[in-house]
């Protein structure tokens, strides 16, 4: 893969992570409908926008490289996303979560090195 391809693959993952955090923020507010309608709509819309950009960028990358070569880039996602959920959504992060993420990321690194 070229340098620009790798960069775009990383940008692609950041779009996915931010999109997921926004979706979760929106769905966390669902219990307080209809008072929270604007907050839910705003977060979901922004989240879907990020994921739409992610989707088309992903399609473009897929057209150029094998799926099994591209997919490992998503290996950064669990760590980035769980840190984001802890910092921005105040979710409780347990040791089991960290151990699981370490294993998943190592596994994805192995897959990408093969």
């Amino acid at each position: 893969m070229t340098a620009i391809g790798i960069t775009l693959a990383v940008v692609c993952q950041l779009l996915l992570v931010v999109g997921q955090l926004l979706l979760k923020r929106g769905m966390n507010a669902v219990d307080a409908l209809p008072r929270n309608a604007a907050k839910i709509g705003g977060n979901l819309t922004l989240g879907i926008l990020c994921l739409t950009l992610w989707f088309f960028l992903w399609l473009g990358l897929l057209a150029k490289w094998d799926l099994s070569k591209l997919f490992p880039f998503e290996g950064m996602d669990p760590a980035l996303l769980v840190i984001g959920a802890g910092v921005f959504l105040k979710e409780k992060l347990t040791p089991a979560t960290w151990i699981g993420i370490a294993l998943i990321s190592t596994g994805i690194a192995l897959v990408s090195a093969s």
Binding site: L8, Q20, L21, L23, K24, M27, N28, V30, D31, F55, F56, L57, W58, L59, G60, L61, L62, A63, K64, D66, L67, S68, F71, E74, G75, D77, P78, L81, V82, A85, G86, L89, K90, E91, K92, L93, T94, A96, T97, I99, G100, I101, A102, L103, I104, S105, T106, G107, I108, A109, L110, V111, S112, A113, S114
Partner: protein
């Protein structure tokens, strides 16, 4: 029975009915994403030689029905995912949905005939162990609700 206020941030009691169980939906979502990815790859490959007009954005792939079928599966998985997000913390749900990292290489091997090396099998095994490590405490929390 715990009061919702005492639950950890981002978690709510599961809704009634087996089909709406958030953990079943995570599994269903992982399968839908896998099917979607395989179809998107078929669509993108089928249109890969139709020039690079759209550059890095894979707009050309929309010419293939595989791509549209992939998008349909993706939309379904998205609805399932929103449902999951309502009940399960993102820091639990997202690592679990990484089951796609196991299912996609398996699907790529079976249906697209992409090779899977020994190192890759080892990576896939580690991912699976990681998923189980996260799933077990999560299942305990679920049982307490």
């Amino acid at each position: 029975m715990t009061e919702p206020a005492q639950l950890e941030a981002g978690r709510r009691p599961a809704p009634p009915g087996w089909f709406l169980n958030p953990h079943l939906q995570i599994g269903l979502g992982a399968v839908l994403v896998t099917v979607s990815e395989l179809m998107l790859k078929k669509g993108a490959s089928a249109t890969a030689d139709t020039t690079a007009v759209a550059g890095w954005l894979g707009i050309a792939a929309l010419a293939s029905w595989w791509t549209w079928a992939g998008i349909l599966c993706y939309v379904l998985s998205f609805l399932s995912w929103l449902h999951v997000l309502r009940y399960v913390p993102l820091s639990i749900a997202f690592p679990l949905i990484n089951a796609v990292h196991v299912l996609v290489p398996l699907g790529a091997l079976l249906f697209l005939h992409e090779p899977v090396s020994l190192k890759r099998w080892m990576g896939i095994s580690l991912i699976l162990i990681g998923i189980v490590a996260i799933m077990r405490p999560a299942a305990t929390v679920e049982a307490k609700l």
